[in-house]
C-alpha cells in the first residue's frame, strides 16, 4: 500500500546528472555560522537520547511567554519579517507540565497495537446479557475516546512551538485515544455482538466547548472525566471476562495514567504560577461536576457496568453495589487530587457525588 521506492537509492552518477560543464551559481553561505549556541553535544544515556536531554543551555530555556509567531524551533535563529501564524496558546502557564518531555518518550516506548497485542483468540462466547452489556460499555468508551481525539487535536494545533514538548506529548495522547477508539470498537464487533446505544454526550460537549482555554479543557477532559474513565478501566480489568479484555483494559489504563499525569501536573503548574488560578478552577469544577452528575443519572452505562460486574442481569443488584463502590473510588480520588492541587471542593460539591462516599462498600480514606 505504501509508495515503494522506484529503485534503490542512487548514486549521483546513476541518476543522470547534468553536464559537468554546466554553470553553477556561487553560494552565498549567509547561513553559515548562524547559531545561537554552537558546540552542543548531547549524548544518549540509559534511556537513549531523549527529548528532555536536549534542554541544555539556550535550548532548554523555556520562557513564560513565547512571542515568536512562526514555526521557529526553540533555540534556532529566527528570520526577520516572517508573517505570523497566529498561535493562540502562547503562555507557558496555559499548557506547561514538567513531565511532558519524558512522558512523550515513555508513550513511544510503551506503545501497543490492538491488532496484535490483544489475545483476541481468548474471547469466548458469552450469555447475551453480558455480551450486550460489554458492547454497551465499549460503545460509550469509544465515544469518550472520540471526544479525547477531537479536543486534543483542536488544542494541540493552536499551541506555539516554543513549548514543543507539550505538543509532542499531546500527539501521543491523541494517538492513544485513536487506539482506544479502535480497540473498543474491535471488542464490540468480535464476539457476536455489535455496537450499542450512543452515550448522552453532555460531558463530551462540555469538554469540546471549553471556551476558557486549554487549562479548562484539561480539567474537564483529563481530570474530571479522565479520572472517571481511569476508574472504570480499573474495574473493567478486574471484572474482565477474558484475557483479551483484561489486556485491553490493562493497556488502556497505562495510557490513561500518562494522560492523567500530564493533566494533574499541568494544573499544578497553573495553580502555582498564576494568582487565583485555583479559584478559577474551583468555579470550573462547580460547573463541570453538575454536568457530570446529570450525565450519571443516565441509567444505561450504570446498568451495563452492573451487568458486567455482576456477571449478568441475575447479578444486577450485586453489580450495582460494585458500581457504587467504583463511584466511591472515583469521588475519593477526585477529591484527593483537587485537595492536593489546592482547589477547594467543599463548597457546592454535588450531594449526588458525596452520596457515593457514604455507600456501605466505600473504602475508608487511606
Amino acid at each position: 500500500m505504501t509508495d515503494k521506492p522506484a529503485s534503490p537509492a542512487p548514486t549521483g552518477a546513476a541518476d543522470a546528472p547534468p553536464s559537468p560543464t554546466a554553470q553553477v551559481s556561487a553560494p552565498n553561505l549567509r547561513w553559515m555560522g548562524k547559531s545561537r549556541q554552537w558546540g552542543t553535544r548531547v549524548k544518549p544515556g540509559k534511556h537513549g537520547l531523549r527529548l528532555g536531554d536536549l534542554n541544555v543551555g539556550i535550548y532548554g530555556e523555556v520562557p513564560p511567554v513565547w512571542t515568536d509567531q512562526t514555526r521557529a524551533p526553540r533555540g534556532a535563529m529566527s528570520r526577520r519579517g516572517v508573517p505570523p501564524l497566529g498561535y493562540a496558546v502562547r503562555d507557558k502557564v496555559d499548557l506547561w507540565a514538567d513531565s511532558a518531555a519524558d512522558m512523550y518518550e515513555e508513550a513511544i516506548q510503551r506503545r501497543w497495537a490492538p491488532a496484535v497485542d490483544i489475545p483476541w483468540e481468548t474471547v469466548q462466547p458469552l450469555p447475551y446479557d453480558v455480551e450486550r452489556a460489554i458492547c454497551q460499555v465499549c460503545t460509550e468508551l469509544s465515544q469518550y475516546a472520540n471526544a479525547d481525539v477531537e479536543s486534543v487535536t483542536y488544542w494541540q494545533s493552536q499551541m506555539a512551538y516554543g513549548y514543543h514538548e507539550i505538543k509532542q506529548f499531546l500527539a501521543t495522547v491523541s494517538f492513544d485515544a485513536a487506539r482506544h477508539m479502535e480497540v473498543f470498537r474491535k471488542r464490540a464487533l468480535c464476539n457476536g455482538g455489535g455496537l450499542g446505544l450512543e452515550g448522552p454526550g453532555e460531558v463530551n460537549r462540555m469538554i469540546l466547548e471549553s471556551r476558557g482555554g486549554w487549562t479548562e479543557a484539561v480539567l474537564y477532559l483529563l481530570v474530571l472525566r479522565g479520572l472517571f474513565t481511569q476508574t472504570m478501566y480499573r474495574y473493567l480489568e478486574r471484572y474482565a471476562h477474558s484475557d483479551a479484555e483484561r489486556t485491553i483494559f490493562g493497556r488502556c489504563l497505562q495510557d490513561k495514567a500518562r494522560h492523567l499525569t500530564y493533566g494533574i501536573d499541568h494544573l499544578r503548574y497553573a495553580v502555582n504560577h498564576q494568582d487565583d488560578q485555583n479559584l478559577i478552577l474551583t468555579q470550573l469544577c462547580i460547573i463541570g461536576e453538575r454536568v457530570l452528575v446529570r450525565e450519571l443519572k443516565d441509567t444505561v452505562l450504570r446498568g451495563a457496568l452492573a451487568i458486567v460486574f455482576g456477571d449478568g442481569v441475575a447479578g444486577l443488584d450485586a453489580g450495582l453495589r460494585i458500581v457504587d463502590r467504583m463511584m466511591s473510588d472515583y469521588v475519593t480520588r477526585y477529591l484527593a487530587t483537587m485537595k492536593w492541587l489546592g482547589v477547594e471542593r467543599t463548597t457546592l460539591f454535588p450531594e449526588e457525588l458525596t452520596a457515593y462516599l457514604k455507600t456501605p462498600n466505600a473504602r475508608s480514606a487511606s
Binding site: 513511544i108 483542536y154 509532542q168 468480535c190 450512543e198
Partner: protein, 358 residues
C-alpha cells in the same frame, strides 16, 4: 418477546430497555494473519460509511442513535468524498506496527565529529526539517478535529501522521544537538502566505499541497538519505523517516485517486490545486532542494562532501530535483490527474528545466 424484555423482567431494579437499542447485532469479526485489523471489522453495516454523514453527536459509526443526545457537531467534513481513500485501514495498521523511537532506534553513539562545514550543513538541514515537520504536524491535527467520526479510517491515518511528524520534529532536533553543533537559522518558508498548506479551506486542497507535493518532495530527500548521511545514525534517521513519509504520501495519492474516480465534478477544481502546488512547493522555499535557499546550499555541501566541493554537490542536487519532479509526475499520474502533463497545463517540467539551466 425480545431477549432484553425477558431480562428486564428478571431484573426489576433498573430500566434495561436500552438493551433492545443497538446497532447491527451478531457480528463475528475474526482475526487474520495480521491480527484483528480495522479491515476485519468492516463488516455489514459497520463497513463502508454513507456518502453523507448525519452524525452530529460524535457517536461511533453504526451505534444506535439517541434522540436526546447532545450535539457536538460543527464538523466541516461531512461527506465521504471530501476525505475518503480506499484501504485507509491498511495504512493505519501499518503505521501502528511501524512506530519507532528516535531515542533508541537511531544509533546515536555512531555519530563522530565531522568537519565544521559538514556539521554546519547537517545542522542547517536538520533545522529546516524540524521546521517543516511542524507544518505537517499542525495541519492534519486541525482537520482531524473537524471531521466526522463516521470517517474514522482516514482520521486514524491522520492521527498516525501527527504522531509520525512529532517524531520527525524530535529526531531532527536531536541530530542538530548531538554532535557539537546546534540549531541554525529558520527558513521562514513555513509561514502563512497565500496558497500555503495552512490556509487550505478544503481537505483535498490541503492534501494536494501537503501530501502529494510537500511531503512528496521531502520523501525524495529522505530516500536519498544515504547520499546526505555521514554515519549510521544519520542513515537510520533518514530511512525511518522515509518509511513514515511514504505512508503520508500514499494517503494523499489514494485520496486523490478516490476523488478522481468518484467526484468528476471537482476535477477542474483539483487541477487548480495541483497548479498551485506546483507553483508554490516545487519552485519555492519549502523545498530543501529548491534553488538558492539556505537548506539547498547546505544540501549541496553534504552531497558534494564539503564546501570546497560545492559545485559537485549542486550537480547532485539538480539530479535530486529532477527526481523529485519525476516522482511527483508519476504520483499525480497514478491518481488519475496525469492528463495535465500531456495537455500542456502543467508548467512544471518547463519551469524545472528553466531553473536547472539558470
Amino acid at each position: 418477546m425480545s431477549e432484553a424484555e425477558v431480562l428486564q423482567q428478571a431484573g426489576p431494579t433498573l430500566d434495561l430497555s436500552w438493551m433492545d437499542r443497538h446497532g447491527e447485532w451478531g457480528i463475528h469479526a475474526a482475526a487474520g494473519k495480521q491480527g484483528l485489523t480495522l479491515a476485519d471489522i468492516q463488516i455489514g453495516s459497520y463497513g463502508e460509511p454513507a456518502e453523507r454523514s448525519d452524525n452530529q453527536t460524535g457517536r461511533p459509526r453504526g451505534a444506535a442513535a439517541r434522540a436526546n443526545a447532545y450535539r457536538i457537531g460543527g464538523y466541516a467534513v461531512m461527506t465521504k468524498s471530501e476525505i475518503w481513500l480506499d484501504n485507509a485501514s491498511f495504512l493505519y495498521e501499518e503505521a501502528l506496527q511501524r512506530q519507532w523511537s528516535s531515542a533508541t532506534d537511531v544509533p546515536w553513539h555512531m555519530i563522530k565529529p565531522l568537519p565544521d562545514d559538514i556539521e554546519q550543513a547537517q545542522c542547517q538541514l536538520a533545522t529546516f526539517f524540524t521546521e517543516v515537520e511542524f507544518v505537517a504536524g499542525d495541519v492534519p491535527a486541525r482537520w482531524i478535529a473537524s471531521t466526522t467520526p463516521d470517517y474514522f479510517e482516514p482520521r486514524q491515518c491522520l492521527l498516525a501522521q501527527v504522531m509520525d511528524e512529532s517524531r520527525h520534529m524530535d529526531v531532527f532536533r536531536k541530530r542538530a544537538l548531538a554532535n557539537g553543533g546546534g540549531l541554525m537559522q529558520t527558513s521562514g518558508g513555513t509561514a502563512g502566505v497565500v496558497g500555503s498548506i495552512d490556509l487550505a479551506r478544503d481537505f483535498t486542497e490541503m492534501s494536494s499541497r501537503l501530501h502529494i507535493s510537500g511531503e512528496g518532495a521531502v520523501l525524495t530527500m529522505f530516500r536519498m538519505g544515504e547520499l546526505m548521511a555521514y554515519n549510521e545514525a544519520e542513515k537510520a534517521m533518514y530511512r525511518l523517516c522515509a518509511q513514515d513519509e511514504a505512508r503520508h504520501v500514499a494517503f494523499g495519492v489514494m485520496h486523490m485517486r478516490y476523488m478522481s474516480e468518484t467526484a468528476p465534478q471537482r476535477r477542474e477544481e483539483i487541477q487548480c490545486y495541483l497548479d498551485e502546488a506546483e507553483r508554490q512547493i516545487l519552485a519555492g522555499s519549502q523545498n530543501p532542494a529548491g534553488t538558492q535557499t539556505d537548506s539547498s546550499e547546505a544540501l549541496a555541501i553534504l552531497l558534494g562532501g564539503g564546501k570546497d566541493k560545492y559545485d559537485e554537490g549542486v550537480r547532485q542536487l539538480i539530479a535530486i530535483r529532477k527526481r523529485q519532479v519525476q516522482e511527483y509526475i508519476k504520483r499525480v499520474r497514478s491518481t488519475g490527474f496525469g492528463d495535465r502533463f500531456d495537455n500542456g497545463r502543467s508548467q512544471l517540467v518547463k519551469t524545472f528545466d528553466h531553473h536547472a539551466a539558470a
